[in-house]
């Protein structure tokens, strides 16, 4: 897939990610549906396959999941530069795509977080700050367990998905009760999945 991007296109890419940044409550993953609408449906700067594999690769590779945004920028740049086969120019464009999307998605939220948390840390003995932290604690813990629950995948087809649930439940028990290295567990999961058992 190749395309031509003008400076105003790059600018609107930047502006779009900047405007999404402050909406990403609960993590960058919550903005994914809107990014799909913009990049794939509206602008057609990214193919559906490129979009999906950007997310899959970011989840399989080490590092924060927000790196899927970097991969999307990389692919938009590559498409604009004529694909990897075009060599240096394409890689340059791809790197520009990475910078534009990552700075866009991170800069506003990071600035807000820095300002808000340094203020809260200075005023950590204030009753409102304490109330916010202890009030939110039970909700946040429940959110984590709910995330684990939702991530196990499709809950509508127990007959097909039970091995996946069993793997998640076993992992939960092992991590909770033992000090097994997390990488060992992930490698086992990859092995079982690669063999097609789940």
């Amino acid at each position: 897939m190749t395309l031509v991007l003008s400076w105003s296109d790059w600018l609107s890419l930047f502006v779009h990610f900047i405007s999404l940044s402050l909406l990403a409550v609960g993590g960058a993953i919550t903005t994914v549906p809107d990014i799909h609408r913009y990049l794939v449906d509206e602008q057609q700067w990214l193919s559906d396959a490129q979009f999906t594999s950007s997310i899959a690769l970011a989840q399989g590779a080490p590092g924060p999941n927000v790196l899927c945004i970097a991969l999307m920028g990389w692919n938009v740049g590559l498409n604009a530069g004529g694909g990897l086969a075009a060599g240096g120019t394409a890689v340059g464009m791809a790197l520009m795509g990475v910078c534009i999307t990552m700075v866009g998605i991170l800069l506003p939220s990071a600035t807000l977080t820095y300002a808000a948390t340094t203020w809260a840390h200075r005023n950590r003995d204030m009753r409102a700050v304490k109330a916010f932290k202890s009030g939110m604690a039970p909700l946040v813990i429940a959110l984590l367990i709910a995330t684990g629950w939702l991530l196990t995948g499709d809950h509508e087809q127990p007959l097909r998905d039970w091995p996946m649930w069993a793997l998640t439940a076993t992992t939960t028990l092992i991590v909770w009760k033992t000090k097994t290295h997390l990488l060992v567990l992930l490698a086992l999961g990859a092995l079982l999945g690669g063999l097609g058992w789940i």
């Binding site: 899959a56 924060p64 939110m136 991530l151 939960t172 909770w176 086992l188």
Partner: protein, 198 residues
């Protein structure tokens, strides 16, 4: 997992901060969260479990990727603005380079059945990692001024709303969250009154 010993360390310098977060990111397949808890709380002891829950609550409520927000909070607490930047650079730089190399090297491979299976397997395991971390954090609710059982009730309500009823995150956080914070405000006030401080 004990509330008697409060042993806490701090990052030695910015290099220590950068390297620690890089190593942490490189162990986090399918998201960094579970590793953060194990490394920073259980191994390095930069945070107690209670502090981690409080910080995580703030990191999750503020917009932006949760792990990046947590990096900003921890980095800025020890070394100010430069510390925040160092921590974010630490968690992003090496994984970013790695994921771009992976994307360039394995363009197309991500769509094969084996690769998809491996991602499914690792996904199921990382769901378990996240759920187990949430379960471990429950013990931090013991010290919550709202009372352990009330906290568990709130957590259960949140889990039902998000995981079973699939209500929108923002809606749940706003409604249950403001209720819970108001109650925590009241409890903190009562505590302060009992201790005789205004």
């Amino acid at each position: 997992m004990t509330d008697t010993v409060v042993e806490r360390h701090a990052p030695k310098n910015k290099t220590d901060l950068f390297v620690s977060f890089t190593l942490l990111a490189l162990q986090g397949f399918g998201g960094v969260f579970a590793v953060v808890q194990r490394e920073l709380v259980e191994k390095k002891k930069w945070l107690t479990l209670d502090e981690f829950v409080e910080d995580w609550a703030v990191a999750q409520i503020l917009p932006g990727p949760n792990v990046i927000n947590l990096c900003i909070m921890i980095g800025s607490r020890h070394f100010g603005l430069l510390g925040a930047m160092t921590a974010v650079a630490g968690i992003l730089t090496v994984p970013l380079v790695l994921i771009l190399l992976l994307a360039a090297a394995f363009a197309g491979v991500a769509d094969t059945a084996t690769a998809q299976g491996m991602l499914r397997g690792m996904g199921a395991v990382s769901a378990g990692l996240i759920a187990a971390t949430g379960i471990k954090l429950i013990s931090a609710l013991k010290n919550n001024p709202m009372g352990q059982w009330q906290c568990l009730g709130l957590a259960a309500l949140t889990f039902v709303a998000i995981a079973l009823l699939r209500l929108p995150l923002a809606w749940v956080l706003f409604s249950l969250g403001s209720l819970s914070c108001a109650w925590a405000w009241y409890c903190h006030g009562k505590l302060a009154h009992l201790k005789g401080t205004p």
